[in-house]
Amino acid sequence: VNGTCRADSGSQPQGAGLSFRLPIHRKVKVNLKGKEHTLGRLPHAFLSQTGLAFGRSFAPLFAIAVIAGAMLWGPWVSLAITAVAITLAMRLL
């Protein structure tokens, strides 16, 4: 939690059988400002949206990789990747 914690000096210790008090054993009040929940969910929402964007753009991104990849590995490897991709799509998708 990203809120600030304040020890309540008048509260009872939480641990049973403890003979001494540490600030951590005291009941705390959490001052939440309303942003904490959003901050916690932001990475998840961002990753989820990014994953969706990439997933939905998978086909053209893959096509660009295969076509532009010919500059790295030549046209024959691009053709081989295409053949494997089509075979896998026909078998699995």
């Binding site: 964007a53 939905r56 076509i67 500059m71 026909m90």
Partner: protein
């Protein structure tokens, strides 16, 4: 007629499910400044821009062969085969799935943007947008599986579809052109609009020919044939193969449902085809939710549900009888006994 998203009221009319409502409250004041009708439609725009980028990349490498390792005729053939196959595949999805969504629910709030983005959307798939939208919404959706639905394969006397390969190799562009001549060009009320849209399409579609006519044949015309004959043709075939027109006795047997998660993630949920035909105005991103809502009715009604996507279904239906029988099998969790 011919307006994006105008579904009229055909024989296949059914009440639309309301999956999401327009925003209300203070935020609505900003809605007039919103460009996209639905936030998820940004992915449709990204998909199309990436498709155009793929074409540009292929054209550029074709014109700079040394960069792509093209050293002679055989390596050029290898490059063209790989690039044309990839471009055909993505163009088939870009028009048959992506623009398809736009034809039911325009993605922009502006009519001008809808019309012009539509025009630059379908030209890279070998279609004038108005023609594709007319064929899909006015013909296919309004007359599903009847004799008036010329977008689907011809039916044999027993109601089964014609041969898979025959449909793919004869439908686009041959049968399509003939039907458009009868439906649009020869009809006075639509002729002017049809010619205008055709002229805009020809102007856009001819661009690669100005750059290099030979390149245009291999990296423009060939991908468009792959997109239409192989990708969209097979898709249309498998979505309704073995199905019967909608009736009160068999309300959920007009389309097959394809529930592969990866397929639906990468293909804008087109697998939920039964739901889409019954509720064409439901946004594509909300189809999985609608599927869950209608699941019980589909199981009770005996809907055909398969665990894979359109590509594997095409592989099964293009094969011998043993392979075709596998297509008839039902996905687990969708049989009425479970």
């Amino acid at each position: 007629l011919g307006e994006l998203g105008d579904h009229g009221r055909g024989d296949n009319f059914s009440y639309e499910a309301v999956m999401s409502r327009p925003e209300r409250g203070p935020g609505v004041a900003f809605s007039r400044w919103r460009i996209l009708s639905h936030p998820q439609d940004l992915h449709c725009v990204i998909f199309h821009i990436l498709c155009l980028a793929a074409y540009a990349c292929a054209f550029w490498l074709y014109r700079h062969p040394k960069l792509a390792g093209i050293t002679g005729p055989w390596s050029r053939i290898a490059f063209v085969a790989a690039a044309a196959s990839m471009l055909g595949w993505i163009s088939g999805a870009d028009v048959g799935v992506n623009f398809h969504n736009h034809s039911h629910r325009p993605i922009f709030t502006s009519h001008f943007l809808n019309r012009w983005f539509g025009r630059i959307w379908t030209f890279s798939g070998g279609w004038p947008s108005f023609f594709w939208e007319y064929a899909h919404v006015t013909i296919h959706h309004a007359n599903l599986l009847t004799t008036d639905d010329w977008t689907l394969p011809k039916q044999n006397a027993d109601g089964s579809f014609e041969d898979f390969r025959r449909y793919m190799f004869t439908h686009w562009p041959w049968r399509v052109m003939l039907h458009f001549w009868r439906n649009l060009i020869a009809r006075r009320s639509l002729r002017r609009k049809a010619f205008r849209e055709l002229a805009i399409f020809v102007a856009l579609w001819s661009i690669p020919f100005w750059i290099d006519p030979v390149m245009a044949i291999w990296l423009w015309v060939l991908p468009h044939w792959i997109a239409n004959a192989l990708v969209m043709g097979s898709g249309m075939y498998v979505q309704h193969a073995g199905c019967v027109p909608k009736s009160s006795a068999r309300p959920v047997s007009h389309s097959t449902v394809f529930v592969s998660k990866f397929f639906n993630l990468t293909m804008f949920n087109i697998g939920f085809h039964l739901e889409h035909h019954d509720h064409p105005r439901v946004h594509w991103s909300e189809l999985p939710m609608l599927h869950e809502r209608l699941k019980r009715d589909m199981i009770d009604g005996g809907a055909h549900v398969v665990p894979y996507g359109l590509h594997h279904a095409s592989f099964l239906l293009a094969g011998a009888d043993a392979r075709k029988k596998r297509f008839a099998e039902q996905a687990s969790g969708y049989t009425s006994s479970q």
